[in-house]
Amino acid sequence: MQTNTKILDKHFKYLAPTTLEDALKYLSHYKKENLKILAGGTDLLVKMKTTDLSADYLINIKGIKELDYIDIEVGLKIGAVTSLSGVVKEKKVKEKYIALFEGIHSMAAPAIRNMGTVAGNLGNASPAADTIPPLIVFGAKVKLTSKQKERIILVEDFITGVGKTVLDPDELITEIIIPKTGENCGSAFIKNSRVKADLSKINCAIYLEREANRCKEIRIAFGSVAIKVIRARKTENILKGMVLNPELMSHALLEASKEIQPIDDIRSTADYRIMVAGKMLQDAIELAWARADNEGRGE
Protein backbone atom coordinates (compact mmCIF):
# COMPACT_ATOMS: atom_id res chain seq x y z
CA MET A 1 0.00 0.00 0.00
CA GLN A 2 1.24 3.45 -0.91
CA THR A 3 1.55 5.88 2.01
CA ASN A 4 -0.39 9.12 1.67
CA THR A 5 1.96 11.73 3.06
CA LYS A 6 -0.44 14.59 2.33
CA ILE A 7 -2.33 13.86 5.52
CA LEU A 8 -1.53 12.64 9.00
CA ASP A 9 -4.00 9.82 9.53
CA LYS A 10 -3.17 9.06 13.17
CA HIS A 11 -5.58 10.21 15.86
CA PHE A 12 -4.30 11.69 19.10
CA LYS A 13 -5.09 14.13 21.86
CA TYR A 14 -3.01 17.29 21.56
CA LEU A 15 -1.42 18.86 24.61
CA ALA A 16 0.42 22.19 24.45
CA PRO A 17 1.88 23.19 27.81
CA THR A 18 3.45 26.64 28.02
CA THR A 19 5.48 25.98 31.18
CA LEU A 20 7.95 23.25 32.06
CA GLU A 21 5.94 22.51 35.20
CA ASP A 22 2.81 21.77 33.16
CA ALA A 23 4.77 19.65 30.69
CA LEU A 24 6.22 17.53 33.51
CA LYS A 25 2.74 17.15 35.04
CA TYR A 26 1.41 15.84 31.74
CA LEU A 27 4.36 13.46 31.38
CA SER A 28 3.87 12.13 34.88
CA HIS A 29 0.11 11.81 34.44
CA TYR A 30 0.28 10.03 31.08
CA LYS A 31 3.48 8.05 31.63
CA LYS A 32 1.72 4.73 31.15
CA GLU A 33 -0.01 5.89 27.96
CA ASN A 34 1.32 6.04 24.43
CA LEU A 35 2.59 9.60 24.62
CA LYS A 36 5.02 11.24 22.22
CA ILE A 37 6.92 14.48 22.64
CA LEU A 38 6.75 16.88 19.71
CA ALA A 39 9.28 19.68 19.27
CA GLY A 40 10.10 20.45 15.63
CA GLY A 41 8.13 17.58 14.14
CA THR A 42 10.67 17.01 11.39
CA ASP A 43 11.33 13.45 12.53
CA LEU A 44 8.25 12.52 14.57
CA LEU A 45 5.61 13.64 12.08
CA VAL A 46 7.48 12.04 9.17
CA LYS A 47 7.54 8.75 11.10
CA MET A 48 3.87 9.08 12.01
CA LYS A 49 3.04 9.68 8.35
CA THR A 50 5.17 6.95 6.84
CA THR A 51 5.30 4.17 9.45
CA ASP A 52 2.83 2.63 11.88
CA LEU A 53 4.18 4.81 14.69
CA SER A 54 1.23 6.34 16.50
CA ALA A 55 0.51 8.33 19.64
CA ASP A 56 -2.56 8.59 21.85
CA TYR A 57 -1.22 11.80 23.30
CA LEU A 58 1.03 14.27 21.56
CA ILE A 59 2.64 16.85 23.79
CA ASN A 60 3.99 19.87 21.92
CA ILE A 61 6.76 21.43 24.01
CA LYS A 62 7.72 24.11 21.45
CA GLY A 63 5.62 26.69 23.29
CA ILE A 64 7.61 26.41 26.53
CA LYS A 65 9.50 29.71 26.41
CA GLU A 66 11.69 28.92 29.42
CA LEU A 67 13.32 26.11 27.39
CA ASP A 68 14.17 28.38 24.46
CA TYR A 69 17.64 29.76 25.17
CA ILE A 70 21.35 29.56 24.50
CA ASP A 71 23.58 30.25 27.48
CA ILE A 72 27.22 30.95 26.62
CA GLU A 73 28.51 32.08 29.99
CA VAL A 74 30.41 28.92 30.92
CA GLY A 75 30.69 26.38 28.13
CA LEU A 76 27.47 26.19 26.17
CA LYS A 77 23.97 25.37 27.33
CA ILE A 78 21.17 24.84 24.86
CA GLY A 79 17.51 24.74 25.88
CA ALA A 80 15.36 21.87 24.70
CA VAL A 81 13.21 23.86 22.30
CA THR A 82 15.89 26.14 20.86
CA SER A 83 15.83 25.69 17.10
CA LEU A 84 18.85 24.37 15.21
CA SER A 85 18.95 27.72 13.37
CA GLY A 86 19.07 29.50 16.71
CA VAL A 87 22.15 27.47 17.66
CA VAL A 88 24.12 28.06 14.43
CA LYS A 89 23.27 31.77 14.48
CA GLU A 90 24.97 32.15 17.86
CA LYS A 91 28.45 33.45 17.02
CA LYS A 92 30.19 31.67 19.88
CA VAL A 93 29.08 28.28 18.58
CA LYS A 94 30.97 28.87 15.36
CA GLU A 95 33.98 30.26 17.20
CA LYS A 96 34.34 27.74 20.02
CA TYR A 97 32.40 24.66 18.98
CA ILE A 98 32.93 24.60 15.24
CA ALA A 99 32.31 20.84 14.92
CA LEU A 100 28.81 21.38 16.33
CA PHE A 101 28.30 24.33 14.01
CA GLU A 102 29.36 22.20 11.05
CA GLY A 103 27.19 19.31 12.15
CA ILE A 104 24.05 21.43 12.40
CA HIS A 105 24.87 23.42 9.30
CA SER A 106 25.18 20.20 7.31
CA MET A 107 21.64 19.18 8.23
CA ALA A 108 18.89 19.39 5.63
CA ALA A 109 17.99 23.00 4.84
CA PRO A 110 17.04 26.29 6.54
CA ALA A 111 13.31 25.52 6.88
CA ILE A 112 14.05 22.21 8.62
CA ARG A 113 16.63 23.88 10.85
CA ASN A 114 14.06 26.53 11.81
CA MET A 115 11.81 23.72 13.02
CA GLY A 116 14.14 21.09 14.45
CA THR A 117 15.98 21.15 17.78
CA VAL A 118 19.22 19.65 19.10
CA ALA A 119 17.26 17.91 21.86
CA GLY A 120 14.94 16.44 19.24
CA ASN A 121 17.89 15.17 17.21
CA LEU A 122 19.15 13.47 20.37
CA GLY A 123 15.77 12.07 21.38
CA ASN A 124 15.23 10.68 17.91
CA ALA A 125 18.50 8.77 18.43
CA SER A 126 19.26 8.08 14.79
CA PRO A 127 22.69 6.53 14.16
CA ALA A 128 23.00 9.07 11.32
CA ALA A 129 22.20 12.12 13.47
CA ASP A 130 24.57 14.97 12.65
CA THR A 131 24.55 16.73 16.04
CA ILE A 132 25.48 13.63 18.03
CA PRO A 133 29.12 13.01 16.96
CA PRO A 134 30.08 16.64 17.73
CA LEU A 135 28.23 16.57 21.06
CA ILE A 136 29.99 13.35 22.02
CA VAL A 137 33.49 14.61 21.23
CA PHE A 138 32.86 17.80 23.19
CA GLY A 139 31.88 15.64 26.16
CA ALA A 140 28.34 17.03 26.16
CA LYS A 141 25.78 16.03 28.73
CA VAL A 142 22.05 16.01 28.63
CA LYS A 143 19.73 17.10 31.43
CA LEU A 144 16.68 14.89 31.90
CA THR A 145 13.92 16.27 34.07
CA SER A 146 10.83 14.64 35.52
CA LYS A 147 8.35 15.79 38.12
CA GLN A 148 10.32 13.92 40.79
CA LYS A 149 13.94 14.28 39.82
CA GLU A 150 16.58 15.65 37.57
CA ARG A 151 19.59 13.77 36.22
CA ILE A 152 22.48 14.74 34.02
CA ILE A 153 24.16 12.09 31.89
CA LEU A 154 26.68 11.98 29.07
CA VAL A 155 25.22 12.13 25.57
CA GLU A 156 27.36 9.07 24.88
CA ASP A 157 25.45 7.09 27.51
CA PHE A 158 22.06 8.59 26.67
CA ILE A 159 21.60 6.69 23.42
CA THR A 160 21.45 2.92 23.58
CA GLY A 161 20.45 1.86 20.07
CA VAL A 162 18.56 2.82 16.93
CA GLY A 163 15.84 5.18 18.20
CA LYS A 164 16.51 3.99 21.75
CA THR A 165 17.54 6.12 24.71
CA VAL A 166 17.58 5.87 28.50
CA LEU A 167 14.82 8.50 28.73
CA ASP A 168 12.07 7.36 31.11
CA PRO A 169 8.44 7.84 30.02
CA ASP A 170 7.93 10.68 32.49
CA GLU A 171 11.18 12.45 31.62
CA LEU A 172 11.88 15.31 29.27
CA ILE A 173 15.21 16.39 27.80
CA THR A 174 15.43 19.92 29.12
CA GLU A 175 18.97 21.02 28.40
CA ILE A 176 22.14 20.12 26.50
CA ILE A 177 25.26 21.03 28.44
CA ILE A 178 28.59 21.35 26.63
CA PRO A 179 31.59 21.86 28.89
CA LYS A 180 34.21 24.53 28.40
CA THR A 181 36.84 23.47 25.87
CA GLY A 182 40.51 23.08 26.76
CA GLU A 183 43.50 25.18 25.74
CA ASN A 184 44.73 25.04 22.14
CA CYS A 185 41.86 22.86 21.10
CA GLY A 186 40.46 22.29 17.66
CA SER A 187 37.42 20.47 16.36
CA ALA A 188 35.91 19.40 13.05
CA PHE A 189 32.92 17.60 11.64
CA ILE A 190 32.93 15.90 8.25
CA LYS A 191 29.99 14.27 6.57
CA ASN A 192 29.71 12.11 3.52
CA SER A 193 26.29 12.19 1.84
CA ARG A 194 24.86 11.82 -1.64
CA VAL A 195 23.84 15.46 -1.88
CA LYS A 196 24.48 18.08 0.77
CA ALA A 197 20.96 18.19 2.20
CA ASP A 198 20.84 14.41 2.51
CA LEU A 199 21.31 12.20 5.54
CA SER A 200 24.85 11.02 6.26
CA LYS A 201 26.25 7.85 4.70
CA ILE A 202 28.92 8.26 7.33
CA ASN A 203 29.97 11.19 9.48
CA CYS A 204 32.86 11.89 11.80
CA ALA A 205 33.65 14.44 14.50
CA ILE A 206 36.99 15.21 16.12
CA TYR A 207 38.00 17.17 19.16
CA LEU A 208 41.66 17.51 19.97
CA GLU A 209 44.00 19.52 22.14
CA ARG A 210 47.40 20.38 20.83
CA GLU A 211 50.61 20.98 22.74
CA ALA A 212 53.20 22.10 20.22
CA ASN A 213 53.68 18.99 18.06
CA ARG A 214 51.99 16.65 20.45
CA CYS A 215 48.35 15.61 20.41
CA LYS A 216 47.56 15.99 24.09
CA GLU A 217 43.95 14.90 23.94
CA ILE A 218 41.80 13.49 21.15
CA ARG A 219 38.22 12.32 20.95
CA ILE A 220 36.79 10.70 17.84
CA ALA A 221 33.16 9.86 17.07
CA PHE A 222 31.68 8.19 14.00
CA GLY A 223 28.02 8.21 12.96
CA SER A 224 26.10 5.90 10.61
CA VAL A 225 28.53 3.06 11.20
CA ALA A 226 26.81 1.12 14.01
CA ILE A 227 23.48 0.97 15.84
CA LYS A 228 24.42 4.24 17.47
CA VAL A 229 27.05 6.94 17.16
CA ILE A 230 30.29 5.45 18.49
CA ARG A 231 33.47 6.70 20.09
CA ALA A 232 36.56 5.21 18.42
CA ARG A 233 38.43 4.68 21.68
CA LYS A 234 41.13 2.32 20.44
CA THR A 235 42.00 4.79 17.69
CA GLU A 236 42.06 7.61 20.22
CA ASN A 237 44.48 5.65 22.40
CA ILE A 238 46.90 5.25 19.52
CA LEU A 239 47.05 9.00 18.98
CA LYS A 240 46.67 10.39 22.47
CA GLY A 241 49.82 12.01 23.85
CA MET A 242 51.77 11.30 20.69
CA VAL A 243 53.58 13.38 18.14
CA LEU A 244 51.55 12.78 15.00
CA ASN A 245 53.57 11.35 12.12
CA PRO A 246 52.50 9.59 8.93
CA GLU A 247 53.33 6.13 10.28
CA LEU A 248 51.29 6.61 13.43
CA MET A 249 48.44 8.12 11.41
CA SER A 250 48.22 5.16 9.04
CA HIS A 251 48.19 2.85 12.04
CA ALA A 252 45.34 4.89 13.56
CA LEU A 253 43.34 5.02 10.33
CA LEU A 254 43.56 1.26 9.99
CA GLU A 255 42.40 0.83 13.57
CA ALA A 256 39.45 3.18 12.96
CA SER A 257 38.27 1.12 10.00
CA LYS A 258 38.34 -1.94 12.27
CA GLU A 259 36.50 -0.21 15.09
CA ILE A 260 33.38 0.64 13.10
CA GLN A 261 30.68 -1.94 12.36
CA PRO A 262 28.70 -0.53 9.45
CA ILE A 263 25.94 -2.28 7.52
CA ASP A 264 24.60 -2.16 3.96
CA ASP A 265 21.52 0.05 3.69
CA ILE A 266 19.75 2.33 1.23
CA ARG A 267 22.32 5.08 1.66
CA SER A 268 25.53 3.11 1.29
CA THR A 269 27.32 -0.20 1.78
CA ALA A 270 29.41 -1.49 4.66
CA ASP A 271 32.43 -1.85 2.37
CA TYR A 272 32.24 1.73 1.18
CA ARG A 273 31.85 3.04 4.71
CA ILE A 274 34.89 1.10 5.92
CA MET A 275 36.87 2.32 2.93
CA VAL A 276 36.14 6.02 3.46
CA ALA A 277 36.22 6.04 7.27
CA GLY A 278 40.01 6.27 7.44
CA LYS A 279 40.25 9.03 4.86
CA MET A 280 37.49 11.01 6.58
CA LEU A 281 39.24 10.62 9.90
CA GLN A 282 42.48 11.86 8.42
CA ASP A 283 40.79 14.92 6.88
CA ALA A 284 38.97 15.67 10.12
CA ILE A 285 42.13 15.37 12.21
CA GLU A 286 44.09 17.61 9.84
CA LEU A 287 41.31 20.19 9.91
CA ALA A 288 40.99 20.14 13.70
CA TRP A 289 44.78 20.23 14.08
CA ALA A 290 45.07 23.35 11.93
CA ARG A 291 42.21 24.96 13.80
CA ALA A 292 43.78 24.20 17.17
CA ASP A 293 45.95 27.24 16.60
CA ASN A 294 42.95 29.51 17.04
CA GLU A 295 39.90 27.75 18.37
CA GLY A 296 39.57 27.53 22.12
CA ARG A 297 41.83 30.43 22.90
CA GLY A 298 40.83 33.21 25.21
CA GLU A 299 38.35 31.27 27.27
Binding site: T5, K6, H11, K13, A16, G41, K49, P110, I112
Partner: protein, 176 residues
Protein backbone atom coordinates in the same frame (compact mmCIF):
# COMPACT_ATOMS: atom_id res chain seq x y z
CA UNK B 1 -10.90 13.58 18.13
CA UNK B 2 -11.81 16.86 19.68
CA UNK B 3 -11.79 19.93 17.45
CA UNK B 4 -9.70 22.85 18.64
CA UNK B 5 -10.33 26.54 17.86
CA UNK B 6 -7.26 28.51 16.76
CA UNK B 7 -6.64 32.14 15.86
CA UNK B 8 -3.72 33.41 13.80
CA UNK B 9 -2.69 36.14 11.40
CA UNK B 10 -2.68 35.03 7.78
CA UNK B 11 -1.13 37.43 5.27
CA UNK B 12 -2.00 40.33 7.52
CA UNK B 13 -5.57 39.28 8.32
CA UNK B 14 -6.84 37.68 11.52
CA UNK B 15 -8.30 34.22 11.01
CA UNK B 16 -10.26 32.10 13.41
CA UNK B 17 -10.90 28.50 12.50
CA UNK B 18 -11.53 25.16 14.14
CA UNK B 19 -9.15 22.30 13.38
CA UNK B 20 -8.53 18.68 14.31
CA UNK B 21 -5.30 17.95 16.20
CA UNK B 22 -3.97 15.99 13.22
CA UNK B 23 -4.79 18.63 10.61
CA UNK B 24 -1.64 19.81 8.86
CA UNK B 25 -1.08 23.49 8.18
CA UNK B 26 -0.72 22.86 4.43
CA UNK B 27 -4.17 21.28 4.16
CA UNK B 28 -5.83 24.01 6.21
CA UNK B 29 -4.26 26.64 3.94
CA UNK B 30 -5.18 24.87 0.73
CA UNK B 31 -8.45 23.11 1.46
CA UNK B 32 -10.09 25.31 4.08
CA UNK B 33 -8.75 28.75 3.27
CA UNK B 34 -8.35 28.14 -0.50
CA UNK B 35 -4.81 29.47 -0.63
CA UNK B 36 -3.51 26.96 -3.15
CA UNK B 37 -0.21 28.75 -3.82
CA UNK B 38 1.41 26.57 -1.17
CA UNK B 39 2.12 23.22 -2.80
CA UNK B 40 2.12 19.66 -1.55
CA UNK B 41 5.21 17.95 -2.94
CA UNK B 42 6.67 15.11 -0.91
CA UNK B 43 4.97 15.46 2.47
CA UNK B 44 8.10 14.37 4.35
CA UNK B 45 10.29 17.46 4.41
CA UNK B 46 12.49 16.71 1.40
CA UNK B 47 11.29 19.12 -1.30
CA UNK B 48 10.41 22.53 0.14
CA UNK B 49 7.32 23.05 -2.06
CA UNK B 50 5.12 23.62 1.02
CA UNK B 51 7.34 26.34 2.52
CA UNK B 52 5.51 29.16 4.29
CA UNK B 53 6.65 31.81 6.78
CA UNK B 54 5.75 31.41 10.42
CA UNK B 55 6.81 34.56 12.26
CA UNK B 56 8.72 35.56 9.11
CA UNK B 57 10.85 32.40 9.10
CA UNK B 58 10.48 29.69 6.48
CA UNK B 59 9.09 26.40 7.75
CA UNK B 60 7.49 23.40 6.07
CA UNK B 61 3.69 23.42 6.28
CA UNK B 62 3.43 19.69 5.50
CA UNK B 63 5.18 18.89 8.79
CA UNK B 64 3.42 21.51 10.90
CA UNK B 65 0.29 20.79 12.88
CA UNK B 66 -2.31 23.48 12.27
CA UNK B 67 -3.06 23.65 16.02
CA UNK B 68 0.53 24.63 16.69
CA UNK B 69 0.25 27.92 14.79
CA UNK B 70 -2.31 29.32 17.24
CA UNK B 71 -1.44 32.96 17.93
CA UNK B 72 1.24 33.12 15.24
CA UNK B 73 1.80 35.13 12.09
CA UNK B 74 1.68 33.17 8.83
CA UNK B 75 2.72 34.47 5.43
CA UNK B 76 2.14 32.48 2.25
CA UNK B 77 3.08 33.27 -1.35
CA UNK B 78 -0.30 35.01 -1.67
CA UNK B 79 0.72 37.49 1.01
CA UNK B 80 3.82 38.87 -0.72
CA UNK B 81 2.31 41.20 -3.31
CA UNK B 82 1.05 44.60 -2.20
CA UNK B 83 -2.18 44.99 -4.18
CA UNK B 84 -1.17 44.64 -7.81
CA UNK B 85 2.48 45.23 -7.09
CA UNK B 86 4.51 42.03 -6.93
CA UNK B 87 7.29 41.46 -4.41
CA UNK B 88 10.76 42.22 -5.90
CA UNK B 89 11.65 38.52 -5.68
CA UNK B 90 8.55 37.60 -7.67
CA UNK B 91 9.52 40.17 -10.30
CA UNK B 92 13.08 38.83 -10.40
CA UNK B 93 11.80 35.27 -10.94
CA UNK B 94 9.60 36.44 -13.82
CA UNK B 95 12.27 38.63 -15.44
CA UNK B 96 14.87 35.87 -15.27
CA UNK B 97 12.59 33.08 -16.47
CA UNK B 98 13.15 31.20 -13.23
CA UNK B 99 9.75 29.57 -13.55
CA UNK B 100 8.88 26.62 -15.72
CA UNK B 101 6.06 24.44 -14.41
CA UNK B 102 5.83 26.71 -11.37
CA UNK B 103 5.22 24.04 -8.77
CA UNK B 104 8.36 24.74 -6.73
CA UNK B 105 8.18 28.50 -7.28
CA UNK B 106 6.20 29.59 -4.19
CA UNK B 107 8.57 27.70 -1.88
CA UNK B 108 11.60 28.90 -3.83
CA UNK B 109 10.52 32.55 -3.62
CA UNK B 110 9.82 32.43 0.11
CA UNK B 111 13.12 30.71 0.88
CA UNK B 112 14.97 33.17 -1.38
CA UNK B 113 13.41 36.13 0.45
CA UNK B 114 14.55 34.63 3.73
CA UNK B 115 18.08 34.23 2.33
CA UNK B 116 18.34 37.88 1.36
CA UNK B 117 17.09 38.90 4.78
CA UNK B 118 19.99 36.97 6.35
CA UNK B 119 22.56 37.76 3.68
CA UNK B 120 21.89 40.74 1.41
CA UNK B 121 24.73 39.94 -0.99
CA UNK B 122 25.05 36.15 -1.31
CA UNK B 123 27.54 34.49 -3.62
CA UNK B 124 26.36 31.85 -6.08
CA UNK B 125 27.65 29.17 -3.70
CA UNK B 126 25.81 30.70 -0.76
CA UNK B 127 22.60 30.81 -2.78
CA UNK B 128 22.91 27.13 -3.72
CA UNK B 129 23.72 26.23 -0.13
CA UNK B 130 20.72 28.08 1.30
CA UNK B 131 18.29 26.90 -1.37
CA UNK B 132 19.31 23.25 -1.17
CA UNK B 133 16.07 22.18 0.54
CA UNK B 134 13.95 23.47 -2.34
CA UNK B 135 13.87 21.05 -5.20
CA UNK B 136 13.07 21.99 -8.80
CA UNK B 137 12.62 19.35 -11.48
CA UNK B 138 12.41 21.65 -14.51
CA UNK B 139 14.80 24.57 -14.57
CA UNK B 140 18.09 22.98 -13.62
CA UNK B 141 18.37 25.82 -11.06
CA UNK B 142 20.50 28.11 -13.24
CA UNK B 143 17.72 30.66 -13.79
CA UNK B 144 16.64 30.47 -10.16
CA UNK B 145 20.13 31.30 -8.89
CA UNK B 146 20.32 34.09 -11.46
CA UNK B 147 17.00 35.53 -10.34
CA UNK B 148 18.03 35.58 -6.68
CA UNK B 149 21.34 37.22 -7.54
CA UNK B 150 19.50 39.81 -9.66
CA UNK B 151 17.07 40.53 -6.85
CA UNK B 152 19.93 41.03 -4.41
CA UNK B 153 21.61 43.46 -6.82
CA UNK B 154 18.36 45.33 -7.39
CA UNK B 155 17.87 45.58 -3.64
CA UNK B 156 21.35 46.94 -3.03
CA UNK B 157 20.82 49.54 -5.80
CA UNK B 158 17.53 50.46 -4.16
CA UNK B 159 19.20 50.77 -0.76
CA UNK B 160 21.91 52.92 -2.32
CA UNK B 161 19.24 55.25 -3.77
CA UNK B 162 17.47 55.31 -0.44
CA UNK B 163 20.71 56.26 1.28
CA UNK B 164 21.29 59.08 -1.22
CA UNK B 165 17.69 60.21 -0.75
CA UNK B 166 18.14 60.25 2.97
CA UNK B 167 21.33 62.31 2.70
CA UNK B 168 19.65 64.77 0.35
CA UNK B 169 16.70 65.08 2.67
CA UNK B 170 19.21 65.25 5.55
CA UNK B 171 17.48 62.62 7.55
CA UNK B 172 19.60 61.13 10.32
CA UNK B 173 21.79 58.33 9.00
CA UNK B 174 20.75 54.90 10.13
CA UNK B 175 23.23 52.29 11.23
CA UNK B 176 22.54 48.93 9.74
Amino acid sequence: MEKIPIAFTLNGHMKQIIVFPNDLLINILRDELYLTGTKYGCGIGECGACTVFVEDEPILSCLTLAVSINGKKITTIEGLAKGNELHPMQIAFLKNAAVQCGFCTPGMILTAISLLKENSDPTEEEIKEYMRGNICRCTGYVQIVKAIKACAEEQSKQNHHDTIDSIVLSRPCQDD
